[in-house]
Symmetry: C2
Subunit: 489 residues, 2 copies
């Protein structure tokens, strides 16, 4: 192990690799990168580099490995779990200058892109051929495909189409040693360990993806979107259950409660039905005949469940109007609350009614308002916990409510994150969900690929410095929060 | 590291774990397990154990770890790459007594099963609820779900539905240290490293799956099957390209050449059209309206490509008649040749015509007949290389032709195996397909999970003992075939 040096000592060699324009040392420039989308975690990066090729990324990482300097990968910086939080003792590797679409291979139904390419630009490149790229996080206009890989991003349509991991055929990665390794490729059936799945969602802890081969899907023949208003969340929930029980698999089922509707109305005047206790957006896509038949069934099921108003969209403009309120919901909350926390948790779909009632109780008991916006089809909740920074103690109470919602998710067999990732923000919650043996197995894998511990340290898995020793963790077998030893077996 | 003992030294302790009936030491009994479906690799296992629970599997593996004795997992023994080849110095862990279906959860659309459950039994349990389990290897009546996990098995319908890895939500595994670890579960969105993908297809080298949660799919509303006869393979290939280019995604597209048709006729009198140079089986499934529309399109495209005869099936009996010849093709070859090798390779679909022509050339040059049966939709070839054991040198020439076909697959950007796995049989071919850095990364992962090297040694990745030093492999960086050192970085 080399004696670690400060990142500033690497600057001349980083300039030799990335050029003068590719290395930022000025504090004002570095400050631009001090956080990702979760702004309450911030730290000034030691040095920022902006490589333009795989060879530059590999050379930068190899230098970090030689000198024992940590590195943090960053895409567009839209992450919501501080997964790209920089380190003052480290190098921030930003992929924003690697934004070429290298190939759209219609015959093989895939595209090959660099990591800095914006998510939506993949679909823009494929659309003239009648194809698209399915994962669609709300930030898809700006978020990068490389960042989507790091976080295994989803989107409104992952009920039917799955997550990023379901749409990546191949990766070229730079390992934490600076080696260039290929995982998978255009042909699906490769033998050996399928490490693509393990790399996707690894939040930069296993290296940096430098070239990504994604699957393209045929654009559906028809898309139909329904907005249904219900008097209560329970009635909306019944409609969701009825649709799924009928064997219909919509592309998306989104739900918003009264407070979220109020916020969206205040922000973008989306004109959702007035006085509704809940709205549901159901989108169907596929072959025309099939979509039309299912659409009729869904409409009938919503009526039976007590829908008070139904609106349908058949063209892109009408669709956009229906989605406008939903897509603006997070930002819109700023209109009705000075501050808020966006939580991200998952419960089994069958536990949704119970968990929503418990969230309402938590809100009533604490006096902290909670607006609910969520992917109802797959139980991915995004509660918005509202508070006023100016009110003493409000931020703490909001954080408590937000944490209690995560506990509810785990208690009901769900997950501490659906699509925003773990990062720094939730690393200490990992032992709530995983046993010491589960976490130790993950750590074995991490240490095998990154023995020096320089790839985005302190993200994803709990560490003693971040989390202390969480209650209930057996320190004798859990190296992550205990001794730091790699020897487990 | 313990000094390794022989497996016979473990027998009393194995009996204490699995009971007397769960430990086989008699040579005649052990001989039943001396090979899997690839019978030309055989070795008498040191001891055979038949555990009935996760706790027994964990205790057996822990004992092996303590004593440094290798273990080999085995399901139903239908594998075709000697992945379950026993070792005389090791313990064979057979899962055939762990065959309970623990749960069919219709609401969550999944089933939880033990590893010894036969593939088809999952569908049998789900069928009364209107659901099924998609992966369908030809051996599905007997092959086990645990074995399917080990080999990432596919089947005729993986063009549309993917492989085993696309249908497993959660695993309970026993690691090579004997720890019980959970990967994933009913809720899809789990954070941390997604090691399910890496475990599936790991051929027993990362441990033993003891409980498996699989996704269930809704049984399709309609299934239609078409048999189309063509004068030549080229004409059949044109039909395949036309179907895919039209944006149709059939559940299956299977192709057989004249020699395979002749064999099937001789064995099961399937009455495929006489004199055809190729037959194509195209199956469509999904919503009725959609299937009917697409079926009309496929029929028209086959006619345009030169089909001389078209037969359609709409009910289960007619479907079975069409599939009969295809499903019996491998065994049927015994009717026209004393011996044969079933090869398994993949080429990108677009390279199929070229590769088929090259296979025909190889056959003509060597005088070795090759029958072609394959999943045309995803380019997964199963050439049957025919020879007569009694003829001196024929077996060697057949093996050469079979190996040359694999080389063709790699040369065209394909894979050395589509669904039969690597096992012992193809471990030495891995360097044809992967770079030293790719293989070294896999080996790092393997050694992290199995530092003692006791989990199915010498399967999947090349070793010096098996392969020597393959040409073109840099021995200075490739620990798998060179020094055996784990230190790479």
């Amino acid at each position: 192990m080399p004696v670690p040096v400060g990142p500033e000592a690497l600057v001349p060699r980083l300039r030799a690799i990335c050029g003068d324009a590719g290395v930022l040392t000025d504090p004002a420039q570095r400050r631009t990168y001090e956080s990702d989308g979760l702004t309450y975690h911030a730290e000034l990066p030691g040095v920022v580099v902006l490589p333009t090729s795989t060879a530059q990324v590999a050379a930068v990482v190899r230098l970090c490995a030689e000198e024992g300097v940590p590195f943090v990968p960053r895409g567009a910086g839209t992450g919501l779990s501080a997964g790209a939080l920089p380190r003052s003792d480290g190098v921030l590797v930003v992929t924003s200058r690697m934004r070429r679409i290298l190939e759209v291979d219609v015959e093989a139904r895939c595209a090959v892109v660099q990591p800095g390419v914006a998510n939506l630009d993949v679909t823009r490149a494929a659309a003239p051929h009648g194809y698209y790229y399915a994962p669609d996080p709300s930030s898809q206009q700006v978020c990068s495909v490389g960042g989507n890989i790091a976080e295994n991003s989803g989107g409104a349509h992952c009920l039917k189409y799955g997550f990023t991991v379901n749409h990546v055929l191949g990766l070229e990665i730079v390992t934490p040693a600076g080696d260039v390794v290929r995982l998978g490729g255009k042909v699906a059936e490769a033998p050996g360990y399928d490490l693509i799945g393990a790399f996707i969602g690894s939040e930069g802890t296993l290296g940096i993806a430098t070239e990504i081969t994604v699957r393209l899907l045929r654009a559906p023949e028809r898309v139909r979107t329904l907005l249904a208003a219900f008097p209560t969340m329970d009635a909306g929930g019944r409609a969701v259950s009825a649709v799924i029980a009928a064997g219909v698999l919509p592309a998306a089922i989104e739900m918003m409660d009264a407070l979220a509707i109020e916020a969206a109305e205040a922000a973008v005047a989306c004109h959702y039905p007035k006085g509704a206790g809940a709205v549901l957006i159901v989108e169907l896509d596929g072959p025309a005949a099939d979509v039309d038949a299912q659409f009729a069934a869904v409409t009938a099921l919503c009526r039976e469940a007590g829908a008070t108003e139904l609106r349908t969209a058949t063209d892109a403009a009408e669709r956009a109007r229906i989605w406008k309120g939903r897509k603006s919901a997070f930002a819109a909350v700023g209109r009705i609350s000075p501050s808020y926390i966006v939580q991200d948790g998952v419960v089994p779909r069958t536990a949704l009614p119970e968990v929503l009632r418990r969230i309402a109780d938590l809100s009533a008991e604490s006096g902290i308002r909670v607006a609910n916006v969520f992917h109802a089809g797959d139980g991915n909740l995004h509660p918005l916990v509202l508070f006023d920074d100016a009110e003493p103690g409000a931020a703490e109470r909001a954080a408590e409510v937000s944490g209690a919602i995560l506990d509810l998710c785990v208690e009901h067999g769900g997950s501490i994150t659906g699509e925003h990732g773990v990062g720094v923000d939730k690393a200490c919650h990992m032992p709530d969900m995983f046993s010491p043996a589960d976490l130790a197995t993950m750590d074995l894998f991490r240490r095998a690929i990154d023995p020096a511990g320089i790839a985005n340290p302190e993200k994803l898995l709990p560490t003693p410095r971040l989390c202390g020793e969480p209650p209930g963790v057996r320190t004798d077998v859990h190296p992550l929060v205990a001794s730091g030893e790699a020897e487990l077996f």
